[in-house]
Amino acid sequence: MAEAPESRSTARSTVPWTRKDLLGIEELSADEIRLILDTAESFREVAERPIKKVPTLRGKTVVNLFFESSTRTRSSFEIAEKRLSADGLNFSASTSSLSKGESLVDTALNLQAMAPDLIVIRHAYPGAPHLLARRLKAGVINAGDGAHEHPTQALLDAFTIRQHKQQIQGLKVSIVGDIEHSRVVRSNIHLLGKLGAEVTVAAPRTLMPVEMESMGVKVVHSLDEAIEGADVIMMLRIQLERQGKMRFPSTREYFNLFGLTTERMARAKDDAIVMHPGPMNRGVEIASEVADGPTSVILEQVANGVAVRMAVLYLLSGVRSEDGRDA
């Protein structure tokens, strides 16, 4: 795992963090992205300590408001909160707040009354975190809103790429799979574009949203074409639970068309890395030999997720306490 602090420090950001919320990557500047990544760098070593805890967010309250099931992202936020000594509260709710008779805004206002500093929200509907952010004094972190954005995932992906490739500028990154239903792809396209990578997206035509080129990416419909010369290959989960019957005939056919195998990896650059935001469907979008192979950085992504989320929690809580003591 190559470390190249010199290249990072040359790009080190000096902008202050001024946002109340982290709703998406789209609205961030390259400098703000670098600030988060650089901050995450300093939190990474906390995981290597015998006592994995710093007092940074002592006395801060963070609510994890998950309207959609999530193991990985929620655990990652929870661990990040605990390592920062914040008080975390988990609040799970059914996908539709309406089914319980309480609106999202009311749910949030009730939480607000308990004066949390930050609210981490995962919701099946695009724009739900934006609705909250407009109403709440607490900072809002988008932990995934439908197929719109998943900013901390893109940040941890960038953090992982930077670890391996030193810089993102000029890299050829290919993102393959269910582009239409993926919030990960949208956040990654914004982030990688802002940091100067060249992004290609690949999917069967039935999983590619219309006018995808308008996001500033190259669109292909062949896995081989996507892999050719790539520095980074990011495989997306086929969201089997979200597929109607008309997207593709079977997972077997999908694997034949778009499944990543060792053979197909031959077209990529020799030092290419393979990423996956998880959870994986082995044998559907990715063969086990690749997922567990030497080019895979999938578990590093998970590890880095904690550091990146610590950085985000830290930066956002700093804004909240401006009128009080130092964060």
Binding site: L131, H148, P209, E211
Partner: protein, 434 residues
């Protein structure tokens, strides 16, 4: 409405597209009709006891008619009532509205039709012409009792809110309505193509991650209905046209002489799907059909200019603020229109140089009257004494808090526009709002 005092409107610029008139003349309204249109330079003698209206600096035109309005009564009075809806109509310059049938209960029989009309008479702010449902219970299966409803005052039929999906039902409705000479109005949307879409499928649905509604959802129904219409005859009206393809289909059908008409809404003329991104997922930008792309908007404007599109209608669709204050994906479809249509059309179409004033007035009065077979839309002697006064140069800032509607769901809040309605006269009676 006919036992009113006579009313003389003096000093205004009378623009009546039905008789190609644009002149400074006086107008006498008496016994509920236009009794006299003065000559140029002539001052009409006011009959004894007549009320005088000074219209100097104003345009005097046939009462405006909005043929696509959801008044929500009966059943959804928390959104709007016939009283508040018609107050909004009057405030917005409309002397008549055509109300949709998707109330609760739906307007699928004469009793509901009569209830609507009696509430409208009680309110007295504008004329109300109900459309009945095409199908019983608006379920898309059996035909509703159309003849009974016509006898009670329905002026046509629609299942608006949802499509008449079944081709055989649409075919038989087009045949059966010919007995009454009334139109069938279609909300053209193949729900199987809409799927769980909530906005136009295009660049912005892709960027926002919201499920898209393809243009084809609208176009395939219009195409199918036009094929049926060629077989059946009758009068077919496409509601709220929104796509390039829809405009082309209607244009081609008209060239073939088919009895088809269509309407367009101000929001489809003046907004695109980008508004959803610009407003950070505002549910006031959510309606059906969805705001489309710029290419569609341009096609709609072209269709309006070349006459393919017959008229402008607002699709006034009030929803309570609580219902709209939710995630975009689950918010109800629809926005207000009665109080923004006139300022938008005067500002963007007239002052914007897209169409001459007389044509815009036609699109809001003479043409909708023709499309729905309604009285009005003219100031010729003997016509109903329905008049709208327009102030072309008034500066307006759209303010949702000041609207007469019970609801607040408009994407035009804060827009600065030039031109507004300055008053309405219905059946020879000046409408004053409480």
């Amino acid at each position: 409405m006919s036992d009113e005092r006579p009313l003389v409107i003096r000093g205004g610029r009378v623009v009546d597209p039905s008789q190609d008139l644009d002149a400074n003349v006086d107008l006498l309204l008496e016994d509920g009709v236009v009794a006299r249109l003065g000559e140029k330079g002539e001052s009409i003698d006011a009959p004894d006891g007549a009320e005088e209206v000074d219209a100097s600096g104003l345009v005097v035109c046939p009462g405006l008619i909005d043929i696509h309005v959801h008044l929500r009564e009966p059943g959804q009075e928390h959104k709007e009532t016939i009283r508040t809806g018609t107050m909004g109509a009057a405030a917005g310059g409309f002397t008549a509205v055509v109300c949709m049938a998707n109330t609760d209960p739906v307007n699928d029989d004469a009793a509901v039709t009569e209830l609507i009309l009696s509430q409208a008479r009680r309110a007295g702010f504008a004329r109300v012409y109900p459309l009945g449902t095409v199908s019983k219970g608006m379920k898309g299966e059996a035909m509703a009792e159309m003849g009974e409803m016509v006898a009670s005052g329905a002026v046509g039929f629609t299942d608006d809110g949802v499509v008449v999906a079944h081709p055989e039902l649409m075919r038989r409705a087009l045949l059966y309505t010919q007995h009454y000479g009334v139109p069938v109005a279609q909300h053209a949307e193949d729900l199987r193509l809409t799927g769980d879409g909530v906005m136009h499928e295009g660049e912005w649905s892709t960027k926002l991650g919201l499920k898209g509604i393809p243009r084809s959802a609208e176009d395939v129904i219009i195409a199918r209905d036009l094929i049926l219409l060629a077989e059946t005859g009758g009068r077919y009206h496409v509601q709220h046209l929104s796509t390039v393809g829809g405009v082309e289909l209607v244009r081609a059908a008209k060239e073939r002489g088919l009895p088809v008409t269509c309407e367009v809404t101000p929001h489809h003329l003046f907004l695109t799907d980008k508004a959803i991104a610009d407003s950070d997922f505002s549910t006031d930008c959510k309606m059906k059909p969805p705001l489309r792309a710029e290419s569609d908007r341009q096609a709609l404007l072209a269709g309006l200019v070349d006459g393919t599109i017959d008229c402008i209608a607002s699709d006034h669709a009030p929803h309570h603020p609580d219902e709209k204050d939710v995630e975009f994906s689950v918010a109800p479809y629809g926005i207000l229109g009665l109080e923004t249509t006139v300022p938008l059309c005067l500002d963007r179409l007239v002052h914007g140089g897209v169409l001459p004033l007389s044509r815009v007035i036609a699109l809001l009065s003479t043409e909708p009257a023709r499309v729905m077979g309604l009285p009005g839309g003219s100031l010729a002697e003997g016509s109903p004494a329905d008049v709208t006064l327009l102030d072309l140069d008034a500066e307006v800032t759209v303010d949702r808090a000041k609207m007469r509607s019970k609801s607040r769901n408009t994407p035009f809040h804060g827009w600065q526009l030039k031109g507004r309605a300055a008053g309405t006269i219905v059946g020879g009676r000046r409408i004053t709002l409480p």
